[in-house]
């Protein structure tokens, strides 16, 4: 991105001054280097979001922002229903509530090394992944609606996990306001056999080691020590969320003019929050959030069962579960007034600071764990939410590294088998049914996650707590 398009406010804050129909400024949080690497489309998309009705404060881009659909991936925007604000299917995206959860194991690296190969085989056997995979659970219509209304709470009640897990999930494991009746038959059909499946693309299940602790006090609360083994699960609402995104993108695009909404880009498909279509989308989108929470909960159960057979001493406790692609109703201060806003996070992580009322008791004094996924060959990070993040980005932070190379280019540059062998030589065991999929996800196809996390830390969006590196990676 051309720096001349921006006003530099600090080392890590850049503004797009309001112009041409923008109702608020655009604000990018990133280092100069990251901004230069961003596609010009990010500038265009941040600008377009700033033109939507009822937007408050600013249209934000996180340090990992890249070209998305309507909203940039890494985009955050909040809307006020009382000012004609909108809800946007494009602002949430296709993989609704795609997210990451992190489990402690109680194991140390020395415990896992002798059984690492067996762990890799057992996890890849236990958790269905990739194109054509089928979950071990088939939902009939009644069970489907119960799952969409209940989320991870439904999963726990169905025998997948235990009640303490729910305290460590956003919304306590169940997104209120879900309306299964607003979810199309097509969406439900796509999900019927996909519960407890990982998916493909950038989704993964990893066994990781804590290699560096940056903040000992917070890491102690998160129960993370250098040398500890943890498990990370990255996936979303699977076919159901994808279909809801598809369904409402079209409905909102066709209806926008009837609501008097001038869409600068069709992918910004929106409807007034208080309109029937806006309410229908919110009900369906919340059902998809519950689907994602239930899916990650079932996968957690499958992982626990796998570990029980290999390492009975392991105790897999959920540290936290975060979602990336959501629209949530939250209370924020805007110009001295407390407002109820609809906060869209597209490829961005909620990052609540200490003292926030939505935090579980364990994190009330220090803030929310912010889980940042990396690649199978680099690193992931645990950060913690900050108080200043609330005023800077509605309590939001980055979500990952973001691609630096297209899938097409990655397949031309790497062969999956070579990537797997190279990582094995570094002690990272990759299991995937698709060598081409591994090539598309090669570590070199992604930006430097450390640079992204450092920028989020410097901007005060969240603070670094620990760095994690992979030992085993299961991909679709």
């Amino acid at each position: 991105m051309e720096l001349s398009l921006l006003t530099r406010k600090s080392e890590v804050e850049w503004w797009i001054e309001p112009h041409g129909g923008m109702r608020v400024p655009g604000i990018l949080y990133a280092t100069e280097s990251l901004v230069k690497d961003m596609d010009e489309k990010v500038h265009e998309q941040v600008t377009n979001v700033a033109k939507l009705p009822g937007i408050e404060r600013a249209s934000y881009a996180m340090p990992d922002a890249h070209w998305g659909y309507g909203f940039p991936i890494g985009g955050v925007a909040a809307f006020d229903a009382e000012r004609g604000g909108v809800v946007s299917a494009g602002g949430v995206g296709f993989d609704i509530s795609c997210g990451v959860r992190l489990l402690g194991t109680g194991l140390r690296v020395d415990d896992i090394e002798p059984i690492k190969k067996r762990v890799a085989e057992e996890l890849s056997r236990s958790v269905p992944a990739g194109v054509g995979s089928v979950g071990r659970l088939h939902l009939d219509s009644v069970e489907m609606d119960a799952m969409l209304a209940g989320g991870a709470r439904w999963a726990v009640e169905s025998g997948y996990g235990s009640a303490p897990d729910l305290e460590r999930i956003e919304e306590h494991g169940c997104m209120a306001g879900a309306k299964p009746q607003e979810v199309s038959d097509h969406a439900k059909n796509r999900q019927r056999d996909e519960m407890g499946t990982l998916g493909s693309g950038n989704h993964y299940l990893e066994v990781q080691q804590v290699v560096k602790v940056f903040d000992t006090a917070v890491a102690d609360v998160f129960q993370l020590r250098e040398g500890d083994v943890v498990i990370s699960i990255h996936c979303g609402s699977r076919g159901l969320g994808h279909q809801i995104g598809t369904d409402f993108l079209k409905r909102m695009t066709l209806a926008a003019s009837t609501y008097g909404i001038d869409l600068p880009d069709r992918e910004l498909a929106s409807a007034p929050i208080d309109s029937p279509l806006g309410q229908a989308y919110l009900g369906a989108m919340r059902a998809a959030i519950n689907c994602a929470l239930a899916n990650r909960q079932i996968i957690t159960h499958l992982v626990r069962r796998a570990f029980a057979g290999i390492a009975p001493r392991a105790e897999l406790k959920l540290l936290y579960d975060v979602s990336h692609n959501t629209c949530k109703v939250e209370t924020h201060d805007v110009s001295g007034r407390t407002k109820r806003l609809f906060v869209h996070r597209k490829g961005a992580t909620r990052a609540l600071g200490p003292g926030h009322p939505d935090l579980p008791p364990a994190f009330a004094a220090i803030g929310q764990p912010v889980l940042i996924g990396g690649t199978m060959g680099t690193a992931s990070y645990v950060l913690v939410g900050t108080k200043e993040g609330l005023t800077r980005s509605f309590g939001s932070s980055c979500h990952g590294a973001g691609r630096s190379m297209s899938r097409h280019a990655a397949v031309k540059k790497w062969r999956g088998r070579e990537v797997i062998d190279e990582l094995a030589a570094r002690g990272i065991l990759v299991r995937s049914p698709s060598p081409r999929g591994v090539a598309e996800e090669a570590p070199g196809a992604y930006k430097d996650v450390t640079a992204v996390v450092d920028a989020a830390d410097e901007a005060g969006l969240s603070r670094k707590v620990a760095r994690l590196e992979p030992l085993v990676c299961v991909k679709g």
Binding site: F94, N189, R190, R192, G201, G476
Partner: protein
């Protein structure tokens, strides 16, 4: 393989498909002598995101119908209908016939169930998007149908 409904087909235009780059995802493009042929080629490009279409045997036929007010939205609907059939039937498709009348599309797609060993499927397609969406009749007579798909 196509059976377009037009009676006049421009001479010398090859029906082809290709991918184009998009930061996180991938673009699918069909080019053909007719709009229908371009739609058929875009479907092959969609399969090409997942696997090599020449590895997919056209053993089983399914019917697809969709309707949209404009050509470009019809393309998105067509590709999303295929995404739905791929996901729910766990199939891949390699041959298509498309006919378009006004705002309505009718098609047959031939394929087979996913064989993870033979197809080595790389990635699921989540949905067709409106990004880089175009259905155009080019000055040289070719029809072009393209968009980015989210994977």
């Amino acid at each position: 393989m196509w059976k377009g409904t037009l009676t006049h087909v421009p001479v010398g235009i090859r029906n082809i498909w290709e991918h184009f780059a998009h930061g996180a995802d991938i673009g699918v493009r069909g080019i053909g002598a007719t709009k229908e042929a371009a739609f058929e080629q875009s479907a092959l490009a969609l399969t090409g995101v997942v696997t090599d279409p020449t590895m997919v045997r056209p053993n089983v036929a399914i019917s697809i119908a969709c309707e949209s007010p404009t050509d470009d939205l019809l393309l998105v609907d067509w590709l999303n209908a295929l995404v739905y059939e791929m996901a729910t039937r766990r199939m891949l498709f390699s041959a298509f016939t498309v006919s378009i009348t006004g705002t309505q599309l009718r098609a047959t797609a031939w394929g087979e169930p996913v064989d993870r060993t033979r197809h080595e499927p790389a990635v699921e397609v989540k949905g067709a998007t409106y990004t880089a969406l175009r259905v155009t009749h080019e000055p040289d007579g070719r029809w072009l149908a393209q968009c980015v798909v989210d994977v």
